[in-house]
């Protein structure tokens, strides 16, 4: 056992990296759920993004194009979900599950020729001056651009939802779709766009795993990250800024357990690997139990199909 080898600054810096894929996926899902749609297919869209992004990056040699391909892949898969749920009025829970099963199959089919190949590396982007601040510099400002993109998207989503007219409309559609429809808003069109955004974000998150974190293609690379992202949305009470907190918490747990594994702590590896999932359950319990707070914060029309009768 060698706990002295764990440096807190490095730990916090890798926490930022580890939380990025979950953060991206959860952010997309947050917007989808604020629009009143529950998409349980995050895991499927993430892993599809992971492989389409990887394939694009290998083909073009450019990680940036890879991330673009990942967003496109995730969004393309989410179109299936959107058509089924919005226009064919299928059950959202069942369709989301189907999307996950389908995405896992699709990803391993596409990924067949890509095993054992290394992805072109994503360059680190040190922010000048800021990255030289002791302690804070390495933690916050010496990462690749996707980490910054994730943070910017959080800020952007917060601004969009709380400060713009379109954001208000989106929230109205999520809270009460019948009222929003009566006011003349296009419920299905808005939800379609939200689902597309969710798919693209999940794709980005998946690609961050296959292009930066791992960085190669292995089957089941997401290992439940999509489901953890879903849990974080509940944890955050559907608010973008709290999402950041949730993602950091889970990033922190997964980084910590990896460090403890490396430090040969006398706990079985399998028990340490369980930690992120167990903590997710624990957090769900804590957040749900506070006088039913989590449920009160959920968008009013979440998970209900919308059918305009007139």
């Amino acid at each position: 056992m060698d706990l002295g080898g764990i440096s807190p600054i490095l730990l916090l810096a890798s926490l930022m990296v580890a939380s990025t894929p979950i953060l991206l996926a959860a952010l997309g899902e947050l917007v989808v759920e604020r629009a009143g749609v529950l998409n349980l297919g995050v895991e499927g869209m993430m892993i599809t993004g992971a492989i389409t992004g990887f394939a694009t990056a290998v083909a073009t040699g450019s990680p940036a194009l890879g991330f673009l391909g990942a967003a496109a892949g995730g969004a393309a898969l989410s179109v299936i979900f959107a058509v089924l749920v919005l226009w064919l009025k299928s059950n959202q829970v069942a369709t989301g599950l189907a999307l996950t099963l389908f995405g896992l199959g699709l990803a391993s089919l596409i990924g067949q020729g890509y095993q054992g190949i290394r992805a072109p590396s994503t360059a680190r982007l040190d922010i000048p001056l800021l990255s030289d601040i002791p302690a804070l510099g390495p933690i916050l400002f010496r990462h690749d651009w996707v980490v910054y993109l994730g943070l910017a998207l959080v800020a952007g989503t917060w601004w969009f939802l709380s400060r713009t007219r379109a954001g208000l409309t989106l929230r109205a559609v999520g809270e009460n779709h019948d009222a929003a429809h009566a006011l003349g808003y296009h419920v299905l069109r808005l939800r379609f766009l939200a689902i597309l955004f969710g798919g693209a974000c999940a794709g980005l998150g998946g690609a961050y795993l296959s292009l930066v974190r791992v960085p190669q293609w292995t089957e089941g690379v997401t290992a439940g990250a999509g489901w953890i992202a879903l849990a974080i949305v509940v944890f955050a009470s559907w608010r973008p800024l709290r999402l950041l907190l949730g993602a950091w918490l889970f990033g922190g747990i997964s980084v910590l357990q990896l460090n403890l594994q490396a430090a040969n702590v006398p706990v079985p590896v399998e028990v340490l690997s369980m930690a992120p999932y167990l903590v997710t359950i624990l957090v769900l319990v804590l957040i749900s139990s506070g006088r039913g707070r989590a449920r009160l914060a959920a968008p009013g029309s979440l998970g209900q199909p919308f059918h305009a009768s007139r």
Binding site: N91, V93, L101, F102, L104, L109, A231, Y277, S289, H307
Partner: protein
Amino acid sequence: MIVLEKRPNPSRAWAFATPVLAVIATMIAGGLLFAALGKDPVLAIRTIFWDPLFGDFASYTRPQLLIKAGPLILIAVGLSFGFRAGIWNIGAEGQYILGALTGAAVGLAFYPTESRLVFPLMVAAGALGGIAWALIPALLKIRFGTNEILVSLMLVYVATNLLAYAALGPLQNPEGMGFPGSRNLSQWLAAANLELFPGTGIHWGVIAAGLAVIVAHVLLARHVFGFAVRLAGQSPRAAAFAGVSPSRLVLACMAMSGGLAGAAGLFEVTGPAGQISIDFNVGYGFTAIIVAFLGRLHPVGILLAGLLMALTYIGGEMAQLQLSLPAAAIQLFQGMLLFFLLAMDVLTQFRLRWKGAPVVPAPAAAAAPQEAS
């Protein structure tokens, strides 16, 4: 333009027709997929759906059909009750693993006793293990209001880690020369879940699946529990007025699906899989979700859907060997089936109408059911 018009009651004819149509649509779309992969689509579809039943190796593949369908049906029947009532246990894979683990652990504690009591004891322990694992999300939901979808799924990942721990640690075969995995249970007569009728593939798990279908059918059609489940699914408010306790319903549905999944895991690990190993589970718990929906959450439907899904597993393996079709293509194929089914469900709930065509006046449509009663 086509508009959807809500039916006053779901159409029974379409409820029967949509699964069949979904299978046909999947065959067509799957054929296109296989053609895109550079395989002969007709040959691929024939290899998957026809050859396992009537091909050259049918005497070998037909028993396999029941071996694979057994756990799928057993798990799906359990899940169907919860799904009907709007209780989403999607962690059956975890309960399946836990059932196998607890059952095998109890059995191995008596190794090498040769007693007829060992196997029934193991089945009971397996079912209890599955129930215990399923009650975690159930109790958390009742006590704290946590989402059972997320908790039951998280527990799948915990269960796979427990499985790895057990296969490399406490349950490892002491005479296995350090290889991961437990003692071979299918070679220990007291614990083995062997083929009961030679050449049929029928083992205790298949018999349990058949019994589960019958019991579930009776429960659903004749028992007050089935009534409560159906009522809660269609109208939670009405169920509350009828005196159905939501908490008790959650507990019952979760325990039922967990117990059946756990038993399925035990039957698998003592029979076809033979031992506890890191990867003895092959995703039956997830495929059973497709089976449950494909069977319209109805026991008899699930029986047929389970057989069909088992067919795609075996046909998929054959296509893998003979046409070198990738294994993932079959997984994709199964996902596609669920999509088509969900998409076509719209026909059960809604009527398609051309916009501009005369629509039945709303008051008449509302009055019709009243006149009938």
